[in-house]
Amino acid sequence: MRSGETEASFEDFVRARSDSLLRTALLLTGQRRAEAEDLLQLALERAYRHWPRICGSEGPERYVRRILASASADRWRRLARRPEQAIPIGGGPVVPDRTAEIADRDYLLRALAALPLRQRAVLVLRYFDDLSEAETAAMLGCSLGTVKSQAARGLARLRITADSPTALPTGQVPGRRNPEAARKEAADG
């Protein structure tokens, strides 16, 4: 049975950290709120299951973040085998918040959401969660080299988009290569 103290400790953790965890989940899912919330629930449920053990350990947050990262890793592996159906992200700003009118940010975020999942996860963990390359590799279960190359490629893709906002399509399929950007990349390179 769970003690009242354990329950209280879990509640305190969620109250204190859920905003931050949700933000990472949002970026990992390309700002799809429903998916992000579900991802977070899954991660927290897993933590809740083992709470008596992990609440006293090095850090439950690290545990939860690791599951968030693993989930996105699992997702891209799955999609590599079985492509996801297209979800149009264009037609309006992806992020309906105050900054949407700032064109550069909007384009950058749309470009981020359009990146292949692994590149997106690497960029989010490296530059939003500020993890080191080694930590990112550990979280995603891939090699350090992969983290480096995916970060470089992801940034290069963002750069292309920033230079040429029209390169960003309105019906990008997450996890697939952006054909316009690919053509431009080929032309540049």
Binding site: F10, E11, V14, R15, S18, D19, L21, L22, R23, L26, L27, T29, Q31, R33, A34, E35, E37, D38, L39, L40, Q41, L42, L44, E45, R46, Y48, R49, H50, I67, S70, A71, D74, R75, R78, L79, R82, E84, Q85, V95, D97, R98, T99, I102, D104, R105, L108, L109, L112, L123, V124, Y127, F128, L155, L158, R159, A162
Partner: protein, 357 residues
């Protein structure tokens, strides 16, 4: 690098104003956890039901007719589990089916039926001829040849968006003639699968909302109608029950049978049909609602006391006289002749149960 800073700024600007509703989240996590425990309990219950399917006389216990085929000499118990061997090995888990010879109690070779993220075991069912076991996974159903113990190609049902609806296939029912497998998924869809070709047909929508949709599906003993329940979204005062009849001849849904019970506070909606096929009993919150299958009309809810625990599992005895319902404090019998509850049998922390043939 300037563009890294730009990216950092953009990411923060995009999400820093986002807030999670912590209290709601805590509630959802607990509910999801109970669901997980339910899955674990179901793995045990599914194993018992699999055993029941393998023993003809036991079929009455789950509301299906005796199978005509000769039973195997020693029935085989199939247990669907995850992470066999114990210990937490990460969020990506192995789903495994283990056959057990019930005569000797020895386990056979484990059959791996795929890996998934935190998916765990779903449901398991055996065709009446005992030749194929069907197990559910995330967005898939995998047939297993019981003669060789080898899994077939997973049958994809619906979308497999990682965290989207339809991720979990929740429940399986097989028609008494063994021709169609019906799979109820979390998105509230029932997908018929032809056992001859193992191909899915067009999904039948039975309604429901995200993550709460899947209830249970059963088929009448005559094989003509499948009944799928939708887990209700209860508040503290009431629970809306919903059961959709599906014609197995045309695979089309009939008008949903709706009813509201006035005591709320629990989700989960299980269903069982009497061996004579005349009445379906549906658990909703702390009540059981009888439905006349001839007219598809719900009767007065029967209060069984205490919130149903976990699945709110309901099982009818082979003679059809008594329905037993799992509650938070044990098991409550209901007389099917009078639709009145008997004295509850108290069992602490009951998770799942089965009735001997």
């Amino acid at each position: 690098m300037a563009d890294i800073e730009g990216l950092r700024t953009a990411m923060h600007a995009a999400v820093d104003s986002e807030k999670a509703s912590a209290d709601e989240l805590i509630g959802l996590v607990r509910r999801r956890h109970r669901r997980h425990q339910w899955h674990v309990a179901l793995a045990g219950a599914a194993a018992l039901i699999a055993l029941a399917v393998a023993i003809p006389a036991g079929l009455g216990a789950i509301g299906q007719p005796p199978k005509p085929e000769q039973p195997p000499a020693a029935p085989t118990l199939y247990i669907y589990s995850w992470n066999p061997g114990g210990g937490y090995t990460g969020p990506v888990v192995d789903n495994t089916v283990t056959p057990i010879n019930t005569a000797t109690g020895t386990p056979g070779k484990q059959i791996h039926v795929g890996r998934g993220f935190l998916t765990g075991p779903g449901w398991i069912a055996i065709t009446p001829d005992g030749k194929t076991v069907y197990v559910t996974g995330p967005g898939t159903v995998t047939p297993i040849n019981t003669a060789t113990g080898t899994p077939g190609t997973p049958i994809h049902i619906g979308r497999t968006l990682f965290f989207g609806n339809g991720m979990f296939s929740e429940n399986i029912a097989i028609t008494p003639d063994g021709k169609i497998v019906y799979v109820l998924d979390q998105a509230g869809r029932v997908t018929p699968i032809s056992t001859a070709t193992n191909t899915p047909g067009r999904p039948i929508h039975v309604g429901g909302s995200f993550n709460l949709a899947a209830g249970n599906i059963v088929i009448t003993p005559d094989g003509k109608t499948a009944y799928a329940t939708t887990n209700p979204v209860c508040d503290t005062a009431s629970c809306p029950g919903r059961v959709t009849p599906i014609s197995t001849a045309t695979n089309t849904p009939g008008a949903p049978i709706k009813f509201t019970v006035t005591t709320g506070g629990a989700t989960g909606s299980q269903i069982a049909i009497t061996p004579d096929g005349k009445t379906a009993y549906v658990t909703t919150g702390p009540t059981v609602t009888p439905i006349k299958t001839a007219t598809n009309t719900p009767g007065r809810p029967i209060h069984v006391g205490g919130l149903p625990s976990g699945s709110g599992q309901i099982v009818i005895t082979p003679d059809g006289k008594t329905a037993y319902v799992l509650t938070g404090s044990g098991v409550t019998p209901i007389s099917t002749a009078t639709n009145t509850p008997g004295r509850p049998i108290h069992v602490a922390l009951a998770g799942a149960f089965a009735i001997t043939p």
